[in-house]
């Protein structure tokens, strides 16, 4: 029996009983769709987080108070910084920041920040924002860019000037549309700060982390005075190159050990290290979820095997007739095997379209990414399920004795 004829026979069998074929393939459809969808969500999330981390300087180390366990995940993106910063009493001093900055190659500079949740006022409007007391290095640390105005510089920090660089959300909530915030004075805890710059929008922080668009940056010295902070909340260490990160980290750690601080008092975080930890956790979660979804593929396969067995019994006479007019064992085997594969592959293709469609719909709310790899994988799995589910029924059909199958007399 030639290939075209085999396909004609198999498609015919699938077409003749449309409802049954659809219900049989439904298990595969659901299984493949959920695998495609879950993998796309996992991939999308990873891509999103990677993108967020790119916003941080790639050659910046964060030294935060307390012991931070990376395995616990945590906030991502712009939030990674402030998410790790809270909760522990800082034992660093401003003197430490200066000393670390002078440790030499591969450390090019060190800077620090104090941070607090505050309410900003302008005329009759108020907004709950995050106050970040920073120095001139913050631009490099956070990859900040301005839409207008200027950034905080060294002299402003030294003179403890009352100036502020504000995020776009702060602008949006305090100022009327079209009003230029530059040069206006905003009220923070009863003190007036003059707006000198507005940062570029970077989108909301993900997963409970800080929102970079809601930050009010002021000179470190001014902020420390305002909120009464005696210690920096965290230290940023800028290395000479991204390759020298671990070397720089060792140098910082050794300095802090000499200051009688222990591993319980501080953690040195590298953005790439945080990123790879988060990605590996995400990968595991995606894998586990896909595995659960793949169980429905197995169930779908059992459904196909079941219906194929019923079909073989129903079509005993047809099989007998085919054998009587000259069909060989192989002819019958391939016919039924192909039918099972066709059901499974059709289900797989519908599943891919369905999963892709759902991922596309979902992409309005969270980022999703359907990769060619997951499509090929889903397609391959459905072929495999078809062969596995079809082999036993097809062998049963091929082994039928034409005499019994025809039930003469």
């Amino acid at each position: 029996m030639d290939t075209i004829e085999l396909f004609r026979t198999a498609t015919m069998a699938v077409r003749v009983n449309k409802t049954r074929s659809f219900l049989t393939a439904l298990g595969i459809i659901i299984g493949v769709a959920s695998v495609i969808l879950l993998v796309s969500i996992g991939n999308g999330l990873q891509a999103y987080i990677t993108e967020q981390f790119k916003q941080l300087g790639s050659n910046v180390l964060f030294v935060v108070p307390g012991k931070v366990n990376l395995g616990g995940g945590g906030g991502g993106g712009g939030g990674a910084r402030s998410a790790f910063a809270g909760g522990f009493t800082s034992k660093f001093t401003f003197e430490d920041v200066q000393n670390i900055g002078r440790l030499g190659d591969p450390i090019s500079a060190a800077s620090s920040a104090v941070t607090k949740s505050i309410t900003v006022k302008y005329r009759n409007k108020t907004y709950d924002a995050t106050l970040d007391g920073v120095d001139e290095n913050i631009k490099q640390v956070m990859n900040l860019e301005l839409t207008s105005g200027t950034m905080i510089n060294r002299p402003m920090v030294e003179r403890s000037q009352a100036v502020a660089v504000i995020g776009p959300k702060v602008v949006e909530n305090l100022f009327a549309a079209g009003e230029d915030p530059l040069g206006r004075e905003i009220d923070i805890s009863g003190r007036k700060f003059k707006v000198i710059g507005v940062t570029v929008s970077k989108g909301g922080g993900f997963g409970g982390g800080g929102d970079q668009d809601s930050i009010v940056f002021v000179p470190l010295t001014a902020a420390a005075k305002l909120i009464g902070a005696k210690n920096p909340a965290e230290i940023f260490v800028i290395a000479t190159s991204p390759d020298a990160m671990s070397q720089a980290a060792t140098k910082v750690k050794n300095y802090l050990y000499r200051k009688k601080l222990t591993n319980d008092d501080f953690t040195v975080l590298e953005p790439t290290q945080i990123l790879s930890t988060i990605n590996s956790v995400l990968g595991t979660i995606t894998g586990a979820l896909s595995g659960i979804a793949a169980i429905s593929l197995v169930v779908g396969g059992i459904g196909i095997a079941n219906i194929m067995l019923v079909s073989v019994t129903e079509r005993t006479r047809e099989i007998g007739l085919r054998k009587a007019v000259g069909a060989t064992y192989r002819d019958i085997l391939t016919q039924f095997l192909l039918e099972a594969i066709l059901l499974s592959v059709l289900g797989g293709m519908i599943g891919i379209l369905l999963g892709g469609g759902l991922a596309w719909l979902l992409s309005r709310f969270i980022s999703t990414a359907v990769t060619p790899g997951s499509v090929v994988l889903a397609f391959g799995i459905s072929c495999l399920v078809g062969v596995t589910a079809g082999i036993a029924p097809a062998m049963r059909a091929a082994k039928l004795d034409p005499i019994t199958a025809l039930r003469w007399e």
Partner: protein, 239 residues
Amino acid sequence: MTNSATPVIEFRDVGKEYGNPNEGGTVVEALAEASFEIHKGEFVAITGPSGSGKSTLLHLIGLLDRPSKGKIFVDGTEIMNLKDDQLARLRNEKIGFVFQQFNLLPKTPAIRNVELPLVYRGMGAGERHDRAKKELGAVGLGDRLNNKPSQLSGGQQQRVAIARALVTNPSLLLADEPTGNLDTKSGIEIMKLFEDLHERGVTLVLVTHNPDLAGQADRQIVIKDGQIVKDTGGKNGHD
């Protein structure tokens, strides 16, 4: 290979038993020591009551089963040592089957039903179609090529089945109660068709328990309790 001296079918002391004596089961002898020849162009009727061994004989002639003892030759070829797939191939080449239940593929156009044996022969689609069309024309269904079995009367369905049996130019047309599922009028039409085929020189073997039907054949083989009790011989010479 085939000449007037070589019978289409030759049975030499053929017996068939069911059950395995080694497993202590009872052995049923369905056919005992049958010897006969069927020659080209003969019209043979095999008759006998239910349970007489008629079916066993039918399976053996149709190459669907192997004998327990003795030898069966089809156009001079001995079938005993052939594998299942070789038997399938031989059936495809030598035997055309017509069944009481028609056994057409449902929801499949008449022409595709007739093409089926040629599909298993590996013939190309074009030639297959032409031959099936010609054969359907010969049984008077040239205008019903694309009708499905459900759109045809019983008599028409049986004609499709006959066309399917003849499309391979078989050495032998084997019909099992071909009118058993038909009304009297359609039955007469089918018998008329068999007469025509006989006149065209087709070798026919008709299995039936209906003596009236069997009366139309040239030669009668009557079987009872696994024994051939009567064989009227053939016009082409039988020894």
